[in-house]
């Protein structure tokens, strides 16, 4: 057999070559794949802390005595922070790619931004009609729950990922039912069941990612395929 000798010296054995290709495959997947575990973890923390903090500062006899305005600012800061982490992670994995998968990834990323901007504007418009802080808080809480749940639901549907679909359905359900508990309590529901649900999903995704044996030779899914 004619061995190809190039600048990198003698051709290694098949075993070495297999190791090289597997190593490079993993490296590429790690760089290109969106990590649902990281994103769920980020949102789990943001919701867990954000809604938790709102709950502790709300009501007639709050655990922490902080004006609603500041508590809400802290909440929005956490949400925006999680949004920035998400956008940074998506942009990083899609950087330098072009094609249908890259386009659908970018479009999906933008649908989050557009959704939240539209939600903020809608709540702002409702606010002009003169609503109480409680209604305002309810709109933000249940509105973002509805938006996030629907986005996960549709992403799960398009990628045939039952776990993401399940997370979306869970958020929608918890949000719709929890809203009936009224404003300080709905915070607690969203913090524990919503944020906690995200964290749990993040752990499941992280474990699933670890046990996944290099699916080789394969076409690692970029962006929305969430690995595998």
């Amino acid at each position: 057999m004619t061995e190809e000798r190039t600048s990198e010296g003698p051709s290694p054995s098949p075993a070495e070559m297999l190791a090289i290709t597997e190593q490079q495959h993993q490296r590429t997947e790690r760089a290109l794949d969106v990590s649902p575990g990281l994103l769920f973890g980020t949102w789990g923390l943001a919701w867990g802390l954000g809604f938790g903090e709102l709950y502790l500062t709300a009501g007639p006899d709050p655990v922490l005595d902080v004006p609603f305005r500041y508590a809400l600012s802290a909440f929005l800061l956490l949400i925006v922070g999680a949004g920035v982490v998400t956008a940074w992670h998506l942009a990083g994995s899609l950087r330098g790619l072009r094609g249908p998968a890259q386009r659908s990834g970018a479009m999906y990323g933008w649908s989050w931004t557009l959704g939240f901007v539209a939600l903020g504007m809608m709540i702002g418009a409702v606010g002009r009609l003169g609503i109480s802080d409680e209604v305002y808080a309810m709109l933000w809480t249940s509105g973002s729950g509805l938006l996030v749940g629907t986005l996960y639901l549709s992403c799960g549907a398009l990628t045939r990922d039952w776990l993401q679909y399940g997370v979306g359905a869970w958020i929608l359900l918890v949000n719709a039912i929890g809203a009936f508990t009224g404003i300080p309590h709905h915070y607690l529901v969203m913090s524990l069941a919503g944020g906690g649900g995200f964290l749990l999903a993040g752990v499941v995704f992280a474990l699933r990612g670890r046990t996944r044996s290099a699916p080789f030779p394969g076409k690692g899914g970029v962006a929305l395929k969430g690995g595998r």
Partner: protein, 106 residues
């Protein structure tokens, strides 16, 4: 080494080009990757990568598209032929190793 009758594709059977092929094969089917990002993922010098890409392109395994006028960005992807050749190559590698690793790997 004694690979028997199996003849591994000499275009792919070189460390650097195998790594290029592996990286491109990990992209979703119709997506392309910018030369710069490909280089990052491979830790290769531009000159080195260009040389190997030229060889792969001559074999019909990859193709490059230049976007924009003047100093645009070059986007690289595997051709259908390249993907098939890569799949064949890795299958052959596994087949070569299977009897050897017997009882060890899956």
């Amino acid at each position: 080494m004694e690979p028997g009758e199996v003849r591994l594709d000499p275009v792919i059977h070189a460390q650097a080009r195998l790594r290029v092929m592996t990286t491109l094969a990990a992209l979703p089917n119709e997506d392309r990757i910018a030369f710069g990002r490909l280089r990052e993922l491979l830790d290769m010098t531009p000159g080195n990568l260009i040389t190997h890409l030229r060889r792969l392109e001559e074999a019909g395994y990859t193709d490059s598209v230049r976007t924009g006028s003047g100093r645009g960005t070059t986007y690289v992807a595997l051709t259908e032929e390249g993907r098939a050749a890569f799949d064949t190559y890795t299958r052959q590698l596994r087949a070569l190793l299977d009897p050897v690793t017997d009882g060890e790997g899956p």
